[in-house]
């Protein structure tokens, strides 16, 4: 996805030293317990927290779980944002779904829907402190938030052809 945007070079990060030359970081979808454990095992947790102090960080789905301060169960987290997240909030794979979202912060976001793909997805139970909700489902469930240079989405913009969320994230890079 990022490679399709001009002027952006995307690299994979597995070890702390790989963070050094980056302008921003995306923690993608996946299994939050796996990502959290591997990050802790390879001493990435503290470097990621320092990274988030200075540079934009975006978590999609599992990434949103990792960036939350509270998820209701005990698992390794980065604990960066003032949000409460519920894992697998809509149920199992059978309940995975797609829904169009109107996200005002995106280009033409109020009129042109952004297609949300939700896979065993978490939801935002609460945004507090400096965190601001930026997208919700038709039934009112909040599914994306921003807190300064930190961004979280419960859905997967990387599974669509719409680059507007990626553009929005790039806009957070100074």
């Amino acid at each position: 996805m990022l490679q399709r945007l001009t002027g952006v070079e995307a690299v994979e990060v597995r070890l702390p030293q790989e963070l050094n030359r980056l302008d921003g970081l995306i923690i993608p979808g996946g299994e939050s317990t796996t990502i959290g454990k591997l990050a802790a095992m390879y001493q990435l947790t503290e470097p990621l927290r320092r990274f988030a102090d200075e540079k934009p960080l975006w978590g999609t789905c599992a990434g949103m779980i990792l960036m939350a301060k509270e998820v209701g169960i005990d698992q390794p987290l980065l604990g960066l944002m003032d949000i409460v997240v519920e894992r697998n909030a809509f149920g199992r794979q059978k309940e995975s779904f797609e829904e169009d979202l109107y996200v005002k912060v995106l280009e033409k976001g109020a009129s042109k829907p952004f297609h949300g793909v939700f896979i065993r997805s978490p939801r935002l139970v609460e945004t507090k402190g400096k965190a601001i909700e930026i997208a919700r489902l038709a039934n009112g469930t909040p599914v994306a938030a921003r807190q300064g240079n930190l961004l979280v989405t419960a859905f997967h913009p990387e599974l669509t052809d719409d680059t507007r969320f990626h553009q929005y994230f790039l806009g957070l890079i100074k």
């Binding site: 996946g30 894992r87 794979q93 797609e98 793909v117």
Partner: protein, 302 residues
Amino acid sequence: MENQEKNQDAGVGSFTVKSGLAQMLKGGVIMDVVSVEHAVIAEEAGAVAVMALERVPADIREHGGVARMSDPALIKEIMESVSIAVMAKCRIGHFVEAQILEAIGVDYIDESEVLTPADERHHIDKHAFMIPFVCGCRDLGEALRRIGEGAAMIRTKGEAGTGDIVEAVRHARTVLGAIRDLKSKPDDELMAFAKDIGAPYEVVKQTKEQGKLTVVNFAAGGIATPADAALMMQIGVDGVFVGSGIFKSDNPARRAKAIVEATTHYRDPKILAEISQNLGESKVGISVSSLVENETLAQRGW
């Protein structure tokens, strides 16, 4: 392909969400487990999903007889014990076992040659289900036939329950090599290519356009060590299934964790050396070349 799915009214069960879950498993390890205790060890080790079974393939091999879908009670117990995705196997062509697994609500169904096939001619119409399917393959034609039937994820068959990596390597190289050949073909040769490998033309065309399988592709069947997992990743698969390799070993928790780390850091020999130390003995070890033809599982299905 998405218009073939039958349950899209509420935005659920679409091919996007079915194949999307497999995208989220990429770079990860899926482990066979036969009990809640195993499932918890697998999750703790960092598995992205578990395959709930009554017997691991090595025991199915030893036990003989007819191998069927596992007891739903066991599968449900395992689903309740972990937060990661839970998969379960049905027999090739046994669409009622698949209906039962869908009713239980497993996250993925493996239409698997490890169980005794129920139909020697027809695989399941996987478009008809809300739950995504993963299917085994030995070559590109088989992979694309399964995708044509609606599989949302593909894995190599390898030779399950042996701890011998040779067949998984053969199958992965065969599939990836055929895709490299396909990419170099002009469009006017695609129909003959589709005919030769017995695959649907549209899926052949999409595979050429994308330069890779249109769904996620894992390795399975014979992975026993961190080095085996890294080997498959370097050959070019998206992740690995480990069946008997973990819980048929001296120290399952340690081996499970090492295989997870190896699948992430597959290009880093220093890390691989570190995590391969002192894992104890792997208890699976049947050389595939010692099996007679009717003992191989990979030849089940087509």
